[in-house]
Amino acid sequence: MSIGILALQGAFREQSEAVLRCGFKTKEVRKPEDLEDIQGLIVPGGESTTIGKLLTDYKLCKPLIKKIKEGMPVFGICAGMVILAEEIAGQDKAWLGLMKIKVVRNAYGRQIESFETDIEIPALGKPPFHAVFIRAPQVEKIGKNVEVMAVFQGRPVMVRQDNLLATSFHPEITKDDRIHRFFLDMVKNFK
């Protein structure tokens, strides 16, 4: 089984490393043909405007949306959450627009407000997850199919909707692979 890593811009190498640590193969995705024979996809942290623009320019949106609607699991991290969201505050159009959430970009403030903290993720059990938030987005609104998996300061920071998973923070930075394993279980179960 091969997990696609969207490699247009951002911290995609760390995503590959995390997936490899969990015993799966990875494939970097830059063009539509790279989407063939992958069973899941990770959209990494980076700049969502850059990643979104390149997704559009290289004609990846349509085939990707098709695959996701057919059930392929996708995990969006920080910028990846913004890419998946149906609504982005202050922006006319969404990128993939598949997840029923409204996000606010850089919602905690500029870089000097970036932070790390422990959060509880009930689905992963103990101990708490050390979460790193870098110019992170916030989820402002959620649709009715969206399950909130973790909350920080009253706002959802980890959400799931069927085959879509998204976090505001960066699980790859702390090398705690529990969220990646959770996602890879989603991939296995879909298979």
């Binding site: 247009l8 911290a11 980076g46 405007t49 500029r110 000097i112 932070f115």
Partner: protein, 291 residues
């Protein structure tokens, strides 16, 4: 909840990888850069080619220019301070810029000491010509490194030299035995702990971008293939004939750096690149500023 930690400073640079950071001198240029797919912008009063031409003392930009750029775009905004000028850095931190470049493009304020960057909450990027210089800056708290290259020349030769030196020295360290590393740290004038870490991991402890002379998509791809994590473009975009098209092409080339067919397509019809300068003819080698 902890802010301004090493992890979040280094982490932002990680998120910029595979991207292009563009020099801009106005909110209009910043918007062009963002639309072209820049992952961050560097707010300046003048691009390095103009600083070089103007001569005199180059300083931190007017905070108005920086604030206008910050208001115009949603991507991270960086700004430059003079080497050793920690008060300029305090000012930029208070403005809320996302990254500070302690840069040889500006006239140094201190010939002996760089800024103690570990004191700041805002992260710093610094230039380096070789591994020792990179590790000294990291030792002072820099959370990101870039090659110095030779700014404002549109000539890639110095950036290539610096990237090859850094990558070559990393490979050399990996083959050393433990007892050789202390002697090597002495010879490179680099912190011993960092030398050991590089020898063990085979990479710099922070992200390393290319800078100083990138003028074409092929230049960007060349630097990526030599091991850069991403690219800074200073004068190369807004001193060229068609900035919009060139900016987009350099972004595309940084993503598809390993795909010659794509690079051929990307390189077509970009108009004139910025005029280039031969390094031997320069009156001021900016890379020699700092140590």
């Amino acid at each position: 909840m902890e802010k301004g930690t090493w992890t979040v400073k280094k982490g932002l640079a990680e998120m910029l990888k595979g991207g292009v950071i563009m020099d801009v001198t106005s909110p209009e240029q910043a918007v062009i850069a963002e639309k072209a797919g820049a992952c961050a912008v560097m707010a300046l009063e003048r691009v390095p080619a103009d600083i070089r031409a103007a001569g005199g003392v180059a300083r931190m930009a007017d905070p108005v220019v920086i604030e206008e750029v910050m208001d115009a775009v949603t991507i991270p905004v960086m700004a430059k301070v003079r080497i050793g000028h920690f008060v300029e850095a305090q000012i930029l931190e208070s403005l809320g810029v996302d990254y500070i470049d302690e840069s040889e493009v500006l006239t140094p304020a201190d010939e002996n000491y760089h800024i103690d960057k570990s004191k700041f909450k805002v992260p710093f990027v610094c230039g380096a010509r070789n591994l020792g210089e990179a590790l000294r800056r990291i030792g002072e708290g820099a959370a990101m490194i870039r090659t110095k290259g030779e700014p404002g020349t549109g000539n890639i030769v110095e950036a290539v030299r610096h990237m090859r030196l850094v990558m070559g020295e990393i490979r050399r360290l990996q083959n050393m035995s433990r007892d050789e590393l202390m002697a090597c740290a002495k010879e490179m004038a680099a912190p011993y702990e960092l030398v050991c870490k590089v020898a063990e991991t085979g990479q710099l402890p922070v992200v390393n971008f290319a800078a100083g002379g990138v003028a074409t998509p092929a230049d960007a791809a060349l630097m990526m293939q030599l091991g850069a994590d991403g690219v800074f473009v200073g004068s190369g975009i807004f001193k060229s004939e068609n900035p919009e098209r060139r900016a987009k092409a350099i972004v595309d080339a940084t993503t598809h750096f390993n795909d010659p067919e794509m690079l051929a397509k990307i390189s077509k019809n970009l108009g004139e690149a910025m005029p280039g300068l031969e390094i031997g003819t320069l009156e001021q080698r900016m890379q020699d500023r700092g140590w």
